[in-house]
Amino acid sequence: MSIIENHETVGTPFCSNPKLSARDVGVFYGDKQAIFDVSLDIGSNEVIALIGPSGCGKSTFLRSLNRMNDTIDICRVTGEILLDGENIYDPKVDVVPLRATVGMVFQKPNPFPKSIYDNISYGPRIHGLASSRVDLDEIVERSLQRAGLWTEVKDRLHSPGTGLSGGQQQRLCIARTIAVEPEVILMDEPCSALDPIATAKIEELIDELRENYTIAIVTHSMQQAARVSQRTAYFHLGQLIEVNNTDMVFTTPEHQLTEAYITGRFG
């Protein structure tokens, strides 16, 4: 059970132009409830940061947004998650195109053990987004361009993706996500395995991607949340405590728990 009974999220969890809307979402691993009644909108073309201490449920919540939790047998999701008003947990929904529309980038860069070119072209090929080699070449170039990696790899597209540096691998994974024309990109601590320069490049990229995509990012770095996001959501023991504009969260948070967490006062 949670220590905070009947908690209501403070701040502004809802917005006028939601791309994704979670309503009363609960996530269970077997008998254990990991997420309690989370209601949150993620607005079109916004970057929302999900922060909170380890085990607070932020990654679990993120993974429920494209049904990644389906891959865990004992995991059960209650409530509704709407993508453009359609419930993604509706039995009619096919998760394969869903996960292309709501793409995901993980903590550790995980390129396929294939060439850079194949890493990008694999998704568009299986989703039938390219009808010819020329189309595919174009998608590969455009995706790498958008991920800010093109100039670094254009002369070695057929070398293995695993031969790139950590930061380049992560941008390759972002390019791979972009290649299947997603609308939402979920990022689960995308920079935690990267050095500061690679991190800065990813953050710069997130800012550029916002023009075309909606982004939700889980991060342990509060400075990163402050730098890249427009809104910040604070999770605590499976509950969504506060959602507010990022500048407000980091200067004048509304909830005592948010304040305690971002000022480093959990002891």
Partner: protein, 238 residues
């Protein structure tokens, strides 16, 4: 999970924040003494006391630089957020106002030496004494409010600043009357104008410090706001 919201996980961070606040308070004590001695010097014609005020200005300046450096260190090392960030910003702004109060105290002392060259008593003595006492109370009121995170105490200081401003305007009218009646008093009167002006500015700086108390506690930036706006911001907090 055990929770203690008073303390950071990092003990050194607690100590660093505590240190800037304590150093700011000591600087405040020093500045308050500078002002009270400067006012005493002008009221009693004590030139030795005025000399001492001028000599000690240096200490105030050094305190400002030291505390500002400590604030910079916290920003660099800890990247403070929320109430911690507001504390560092508020301390950094308050020490600037304290340093300016120190400057004004020196100005009072310098003009005291000029006034007392001419005679032991001077015109507008009562206004100088009254306004002087008032701004000293404002400085200590603002620093107390800071220490206690007391918005109401801070608003009282803002209110008192209005009174001092009015007192200043009426003292100026009085001085103009003197100057018109007896042009020989103009030299001394101008010195008194400078002194009154310095005291009035001290009141403004005490008000600025109080505004930082409101920022520290509530996050509302009330600089350049009217008293009514400040009172409204305080009410929202309750």
């Amino acid at each position: 999970m055990e929770m203690n919201f008073d303390q950071h996980i990092s003990g050194q961070f607690n100590a660093d924040l505590e240190a800037i606040r304590n150093h700011m308070m000591s600087m405040g004590g020093l500045v308050e003494r500078q002002v009270s001695q400067a006012v005493k010097a002008i009221c009693t014609g004590d030139t030795n006391l005025a000399d001492e005020v001028i000599r000690r200005e240096d200490e105030v300046d050094k305190a400002e630089v030291t505390i500002d450096h400590e604030c910079t260190q916290i920003l660099v090392r800890r990247q403070p957020a929320a109430s911690d960030l507001r504390m560092v910003l508020a301390v950094s702004r308050v020490v600037r106002d304290l340093e300016r109060i120190g400057d004004e105290a020196s100005k009072i002392a310098i003009h005291t030496l000029e006034v007392t060259d001419v005679s032991n008593s001077h015109i507008c003595q009562q206004s100088v004494r009254y306004m002087g006492e008032e701004v000293i109370k404002m400085i200590s009121g603002a620093l107390d409010a800071f220490a206690r995170h007391d918005i109401h105490g801070a608003i009282d200081v803002v209110r008192n600043d209005k009174l001092v401003d009015r007192q200043y305007a009426s003292a100026l009218r009085e001085l103009i009357t003197y100057m018109m009646e007896d042009p020989r008093s103009i030299g001394q009167a101008i010195n008194i104008v400078w002194i009154l002006r310095a005291i009035e500015r001290i009141g403004d700086h005490a008000r600025n410090i109080s505004e930082q108390v409101i920022y520290l506690v509530s996050g509302h930036d009330v600089r350049h706001s009217t008293l009514t706006e400040i009172e409204e911001a305080a009410q929202q907090e309750e």
